[in-house]
Symmetry: C2
Subunit: 158 residues, 2 copies
DNA sequence: TATTGTTATACTCTATAACTATA
DNA sequence: TATAGTTATAGAGTATAACAATA
C-alpha cells in the first residue's frame, strides 16, 4: 500500500513521516552528531590506522611520559581490561613501550618508542586537518557553541 | 619515581597532569558526554533490557506502522545488515512482527505486536525519567543549549 | 587487604562483501 | 539492472568476573 518513490534522491528516498519524538532526545541527537564526527576522524586517520581511542591513548602517553596504565584508564574513563588490551595493540605495533616501575613491581610504565614519537607528528597533522574540516562544515558559531557547552571545566553531570 | 598518593579519593587519585590538548577536541568531549548520557539511559532502562538502538527502532515502528526495514535503516543512518539483526532480536522477543508487503514481495513491513504496544508504555515512563534526570544534572541552561545546537533542523555537517 | 595488571568472555554497535528473491 | 532483505564476518568499544603479583 506504499506509493512508489519516483524521483527522490537515493539518500532521502521515502523518509519516515514521523520520528515519534525520537529527534527530541538529547542522547539521540548527540549520537547522530558524534557519528558524523567519528566518520570525519576515520577518513582523516585512515592511512594511519588509528581509532579515536588509540589516538587518545597515544596523546596522553606523549604528554605524560612514564605514566601508568591505571592513570590512563582513569583519565579516559575506560575499564582497565579494555585499556590494557588497546595498549597491547600499540606495543605490538612498536609505537609504545611498557616497562616495570622499579619502585612498584605491580605497575607498568608507558612511554612512546622512537617510532612512536615520529608517528605523533603524522597524527598531529592529520588531526589538525580533521579539526579544520569539522569547524568548516559546522560553521564557526555552532562549533564554538558546542565547544563552550562541552568544556571540561563544566561540572560533570555524572 | 612516582610519589605515593596519600589522601586522594579513589575516583580522582593521581590524575594525569597533562591532557596533551586532548580535552580541546570536540570529538573527545562529545564522546565523554555521550558516555555519561548512555550510562544514565542504561540505568533507567536496565529492567526493560533495551539499548539505545533498540529503543530508537521501537519508537520509529510505533510512530510508523507498516514501515519498511529500509526506511528504518535510512532514518537511523544504520547499515541494513545491522538493522535487520537488531529487528530480528525484537521479533524474537515478541515485540515486533514482520510481514510481507503484498504489493512488493521483497519488502518486509514492521509493526508492533500486542505485547510490543504494551511495552511501549513502560518504555515511555522509563525514558521520561531518564530525560528528567539528565535535565536535572546538566542544569536547564546547559541542557537547553545543547538541544539548540543539536537541533535536527540545523544543516547536517556531513 | 587493597591495588595493578591481566585473561577470558559477552554484548552493542559499525562496517563490508556476498548472496537471495523480487522488481 | 536495481532494490530489499539477509547471512557471514571483522573490528571497535564497553562491561563484568576471576585471577596473579605486589604492596
Amino acid at each position: 500500500m506504499r506509493k512508489p518513490a519516483k524521483t527522490a534522491s537515493p539518500a532521502t528516498a521515502n523518509p519516515l513521516p514521523d520520528m515519534g519524538g525520537l529527534d527530541a532526545a538529547l542522547g539521540f541527537r548527540l549520537r547522530m552528531l558524534e557519528q558524523t564526527i567519528m566518520r570525519s576522524f576515520a577518513r582523516h586517520m585512515e592511512p594511519l590506522e588509528i581509532s579515536p581511542t588509540l589516538y587518545s591513548i597515544l596523546v596522553l602517553i606523549a604528554a605524560n611520559r612514564d605514566c601508568r596504565q591505571s592513570d590512563l584508564s582513569q583519565a579516559l574513563d575506560m575499564h582497565p581490561p579494555n585499556l590494557v588490551e588497546r595498549v597491547g595493540l600499540l606495543v605490538q605495533r612498536g609505537l609504545v613501550a611498557r616497562k616495570r616501575d622499579a619502585s612498584d613491581g605491580r605497575a607498568q610504565m608507558l612511554d612512546l618508542s622512537e617510532a612512536g614519537r615520529a608517528f605523533m607528528e603524522k597524527l598531529r597533522i592529520a588531526h589538525d586537518a580533521h579539526i579544520a574540516d569539522l569547524r568548516d562544515r559546522f560553521g564557526a558559531e555552532r562549533y564554538d557553541g558546542l565547544m563552550a557547552l562541552t568544556a571540561p571545566s563544566l561540572p560533570p553531570p555524572c
